[in-house]
């Protein structure tokens, strides 16, 4: 992302000259208060919107010039996880994960082979036939992670993945993301959880008012007493 500006039609200037580079295999926390521009960055990365100025490159795709029929191809290189899980209520766990694989044209025999492997990775093999409403919040998020992982993405984008979970489940999810990162997948996690950011000591990019105000390895909250006590 090079010197990116984004102004919405209603006049809101969400990003003001953001430059950010995330390399393969990194684990990055993106933090900042509400309205700081975090969601805009995610929308740019998933090509939901285009920058007003500047250049955005994601996994080799130029977001400024990407053609509409190439957007699904870009998204197949990303795995996106949301705060509200976004599972299809009428499909069971297996189907929720499998359909992301079918969506990219995978053959049924490949789906049957890969889905159990990924469900095992997130510890949900025994709940493959359950519907989302039969699972706890943490389990639902693990299904969402399995869905994000199923197509072997280059990057996982987790948008407040622990926002709806208690501290113990949040730790579980973040540990799972760390394990996925250790296997070589780049992870960008947007979060409000100071304890998690502190505990994992990864690279932290802080954004406020549409500008990056910090970019460094760990200690973002612990090094500054004002931030340590602040609730975002």
């Amino acid at each position: 992302m090079i010197d990116v500006y984004k102004a919405y039609d209603n006049g809101t200037k969400a990003l003001k000259g953001v430059t950010l580079r995330i390399d393969d295999g990194e684990f990055v926390f993106l933090v900042g208060p509400s309205g700081s521009g975090k969601s805009t960055i995610i929308k740019l990365l998933t090509s939901e919107i285009r920058p007003s100025e500047g250049k955005v490159m994601v996994n080799g795709y130029n977001i400024n010039t990407i053609r509409p029929n190439a957007v699904p191809l870009l998204r197949r290189t990303l795995g996106v996880i949301f705060q509200d899980f976004r599972l299809i209520e009428k499909k069971n766990v297996f189907e929720n994960v499998a359909f992301a694989m079918r969506a990219v044209g995978a053959a049924p025999k490949d789906v049957k082979k890969r889905v159990p492997y990924v469900l095992d990775l997130v510890g949900l093999s025994h709940k493959a036939r359950r519907r989302p409403y039969e699972l706890s919040g943490g389990e639902q998020q693990r299904v969402a992670i399995a869905r994000a992982l199923i197509n072997n993405p280059m990057v996982i984008i987790a948008d407040e993945p622990t926002g709806n979970l208690d501290p113990a489940r949040s730790l579980e999810i973040m540990t799972l993301l760390e394990r996925i990162n250790a296997l070589g997948t780049t992870v960008l996690a947007v979060t409000h959880e100071r304890e998690l950011v502190n505990r994992f000591a990864k690279r932290v990019v802080a954004i406020d008012g549409g500008r990056i105000i910090h970019d460094g390895q760990g200690g973002y909250y612990t090094n500054d007493p004002r931030r340590a006590g602040a609730r975002e």
Partner: protein, 293 residues
């Protein structure tokens, strides 16, 4: 599109019907109701048209033959009459029959006792292919050698033509209006069904599904629902039509409706085609909005 994907579209489309049972039920119900309303009105119009056509075909032009011709020569005029393009049939009506018919109508037949059939000319009753061209045909008949006079029942023919015109215009206007209303209702029903699944569509887009992959299961589902509605409407229409003809109309009027046996194929074809088109296009048009967003 490989066979796995094709099978996936059909499996998902079929499953979608049951997974979203209520909206499927509503869509089939609405499409069926609309088809039934349009079908019933069309069948009434077809029957009225058939009755008018029958009346037209039984209306006649009476051609009086020159009395100076011999019987054989008078009869031979029929050959020339039959050569006229708009003539469906020319029926020989000799003066004896005309005399007998006249006597029969009199209250006191003895009045004609002193007369012979010679007071009447030989005639031909001419039935037309299309009464709309009755005037032109009458002129052609008058021009034939051996024809003394041509009597056209202008008032009757004009009335029949007016009825036909009114029925045609009213049918077309009503059927078009019903079609527009039905399409509107059906599109709204499908829109509601799709709205219920907007989250599902959004998730598909997030995981990188191509537009076709998102659209096709909905199209298959619309296609299946449309066909189901077409078939259901056909059976209900057949049942209602036969019941109406047998139980309601026959006991109180001498009107004979066209048998459903003669109409089933076009009714089935139109219902299936309309169901198919409404289902498929309704889905395609509605989902387009969510794919654009």
């Amino acid at each position: 599109m490989n066979r796995h994907t094709l099978r996936y579209y059909f499996t998902e489309g079929f499953r979608g019907i049951f997974l979203h049972a209520f909206s499927s039920f509503a869509a089939v119900g609405v499409i069926t109701a609309c088809l039934l309303i349009m079908g019933s009105f069309s069948l009434v119009a077809v029957n009225i048209q058939a009755m008018v056509t029958e009346m037209e075909q039984s209306s006649e032009i009476v051609v009086e033959i020159d009395e100076s011709l011999s019987d054989a020569a008078a009869r031979s005029v029929g050959t020339q009459i039959n050569r006229i393009e708009n003539v469906y049939e020319a029926e020989w009506f000799p003066r004896e029959d005309a005399f007998a018919q006249y006597v029969e109508k009199l209250e006191d037949p003895l009045l004609m006792q002193s007369f012979t059939p010679d007071i009447f000319p030989h005639r031909y009753k001419v039935y037309l292919v299309n009464v709309q061209y009755a005037e032109e045909t009458a002129r052609d008949l008058e021009a034939l050698p051996g024809v003394a006079a041509v009597n056209v029942e202008r008032d009757l023919l004009n009335s029949l033509l007016s009825i036909r015109r009114v029925v045609r215009v009213v049918s077309v206007v009503f059927i078009l209006a019903l079609l527009v209303v039905s399409l509107f209702i059906m599109q709204n029903t499908i829109k509601l069904a799709t709205f219920e699944r907007r989250e599902e569509i959004a998730i598909m887009r997030v995981v990188g599904a191509a537009k076709g992959f998102i659209r096709w299961p909905f199209v298959v589902e619309g296609f299946l629902l449309g066909l189901m509605a077409g078939l259901l409407a056909y059976f209900l229409q057949a049942l209602a039509y036969n019941r109406f003809a047998d139980s309601l109309l026959r006991p109180i009027t001498p009107i004979q409706l066209i048998s459903f046996g003669e109409l089933w194929l076009p009714v089935l074809a139109v219902f299936l085609l309309t169901g198919f088109l409404v289902g498929v296009f309704g889905s395609v048009l509605t989902i387009r909005k969510y794919l654009r967003a």
